[in-house]
Symmetry: C2
């Protein structure tokens, strides 16, 4: 069994569950304590972006409310969080929110442009812009705490509740690039040309993220996933020097909570990411779970890694590849997931068939 | 020394040089035969997209001619090919062309849209579209042969002449996606949903590429680089099943010529790519050359891997990182290059300083 930091602290495992309704013994939490599924026993399964536009019941709600209203109204966000749990029978609910939400009270407004994703009309462009950002505390994000409390009340004991946040580098990349980026050149230039300003930005994002995640944990989140979605654009050298210390501070600040650490394109960063302090690492579809196991400490739980676009392929192709992922993951603790978020065009029926395959073997 | 396929055939090395003016003993060719630079001896250096918009002398020509005219007029393409050799003193000239050029006579017209890159107004959408594509032979690309003959005449014996082509998967992705793509979902769906049609497309592209590269070699190209720029979007499973056999056929068809095989994001594919048959592998900046050496056969030459965006950073940062790349590459045969093509905003002076650093140690 994995002898990492969190496993050593497993005597505290009772403290991991903040809501008495939720059980510390569901499949996800057991896997995060390093248990390997026995032959015939299914691994836990959930999907990144399992709540969202591919579900007709989500689209029905979105017709009445814009995205930010859905995410910031606890009753609505709770309903959206629960939709995939009801339809799919996945082993975890993940808070319906967006990694960018804490940036609003920090003083960095953004909007969602059709087909473009998030757009910051005033991307950070100077030291003064970074200095103006506020470190936020709990109250500004209290709607997220309320959502988690509502969800926890509705979940059965077999379903885990996952909270999440964006990692400082990924948040910084949106703030500096002003949205999605092809080559992330602005945030790289800030990192290389003004390392002190970049560090100040990372520190503010780190501090905010720690407080935001503490709020989520005290509101019922049993597991936290830190999304460093775009860290894979960096060289190992830059990641180690400019990014890893900040992500490490976040995990150090959450010693009681099982944590997942995920990014795309991390094949060359994985040995470094394994030192950041998370309980488990999520990997994308590029890296087979067999190879990933060779890059992380023995017994460390891994999450992934079906290509989410396979769910758009004929169902028999998706199921055959899901069987491969199951087999590749089975030599250690494994949480079945996609290697990135589900896309809006995903047929829910194929997703359900993958869940059933994983649960029924 | 590397005991791979090309090294075993090194008795044929004289045959590698098709133009008597060019020497088989320049730094690049020696490294491709597996020689490691001795302490104090510089490795060869060239840059992907070293001819192009970042050079004022290129922009001056572009003001008078559009891109396709430059690429298809041998005298102009020769001049553009030589510009970076004159200014920078790099160890290789690379043919000025575009990987998409052979697609024009195949029957797949495209245009370059400002800020968007190449656009195919009629992307491949059916089996019939793929069946209509023509396999091309030498004559349609004879302007490239003429360019290479002109360049070979101008190069001094210390400068190698590199020809290149796009690998079948990367060409297929442009043909099916219709241009650049964020997630390559159309080409993946074709691969998964209609594997026979996808294979037919790959076979046509493979056959065309073999003939196109044979033309380049007979016209004076001493080294060939195969750009599988976007292969890194695939899982190792998909790469091995749907892509590798085609790339392998290309290298098998060029047994006398030293070859470079490059893609971005290939950290998880590198062990497979090392079996495709190229003499050397190029890697992007994500993967340190030290790690890359552990993933390929002992002594296999590696090319790379400075982040090209570092050349936009303050020169002292770029030079410091170039020193790191030099050190990381020095434990085996190493060709210094960037990890992807130079971008138009690159300051030529910084590029020159990196060349001088590498040459002067």
């Amino acid at each position: 069994m994995y002898q990492g930091r969190k496993a050593v602290e497993s005597d505290d495992s009772k403290a991991e569950c903040c809501n008495p309704v939720l059980s510390p013994d569901n499949r996800l939490l057991r896997t995060l304590r390093g248990e390997v599924a026995k032959p015939g026993e299914p691994p836990p399964i959930w999907f990144m972006r399992q709540a969202g536009r591919y579900l007709p019941e989500y689209r029905a709600l979105r017709e009445k409310h814009d995205f930010l209203t859905l995410a910031r109204t606890p009753e609505l966000a709770c309903e959206v969080t629960l939709q995939p749990v009801r339809r799919l029978g996945v082993d975890a609910a993940i808070l319906f929110a967006d990694i960018l939400l804490p940036l609003l009270p920090m003083g960095a407004p953004f909007r969602f442009a059709a087909g473009e994703g998030p757009v910051f009309d005033a991307p950070l462009a100077s030291r003064a812009d970074v200095e103006r950002l506020r470190i936020i505390d709990g109250p500004e994000m209290s709607y997220v705490g309320e959502t988690l409390r509502l969800v926890a009340r509705e979940l059965s004991s077999v379903t885990a509740l996952i909270g999440f946040a964006g990692a400082p580098f990924t948040l910084a990349s949106y703030l500096v690039e002003g949205g999605h980026s092809r080559d992330f050149r602005k945030v790289k230039q800030l990192m290389w040309s003004e390392p002190d300003t970049f560090r100040l930005l990372m520190e503010k994002l780190t501090e905010t993220t720690i407080r935001y995640l503490a709020l989520q944990i005290s509101s019922g989140a049993q597991v936290i996933q830190l999304f460093d979605s775009w860290a894979g654009i960096l060289s190992a050298e830059d990641y180690a020097r400019h990014v890893l210390p900040h992500s490490r501070r976040i995990f150090e600040a959450l010693p009681q909570t099982p944590t997942l650490h995920f990014g795309v394109d991390t094949a060359s960063l994985l040995p470094l990411m394994a030192t950041a302090g998370a309980t488990a690492l999520g990997v994308d579809w590029r890296l087979s779970l067999i190879t990933a196991r060779e890059l992380v400490p023995k017994g460390m739980p891994l999450q992934g890694n079906l290509d989410p676009l396979l769910l758009l392929a004929p169902a028999e192709v998706a199921l055959s590849e899901a069987r491969r992922v199951l087999a590749e993951g089975s030599s250690g603790p494994h949480i079945f997931n996609t290697g990135h978020g589900l896309v809006p065009e995903t047929p829910p029926d194929t997703v359900k068939r993958v869940v059933d395959l994983v649960h029924e073997g």
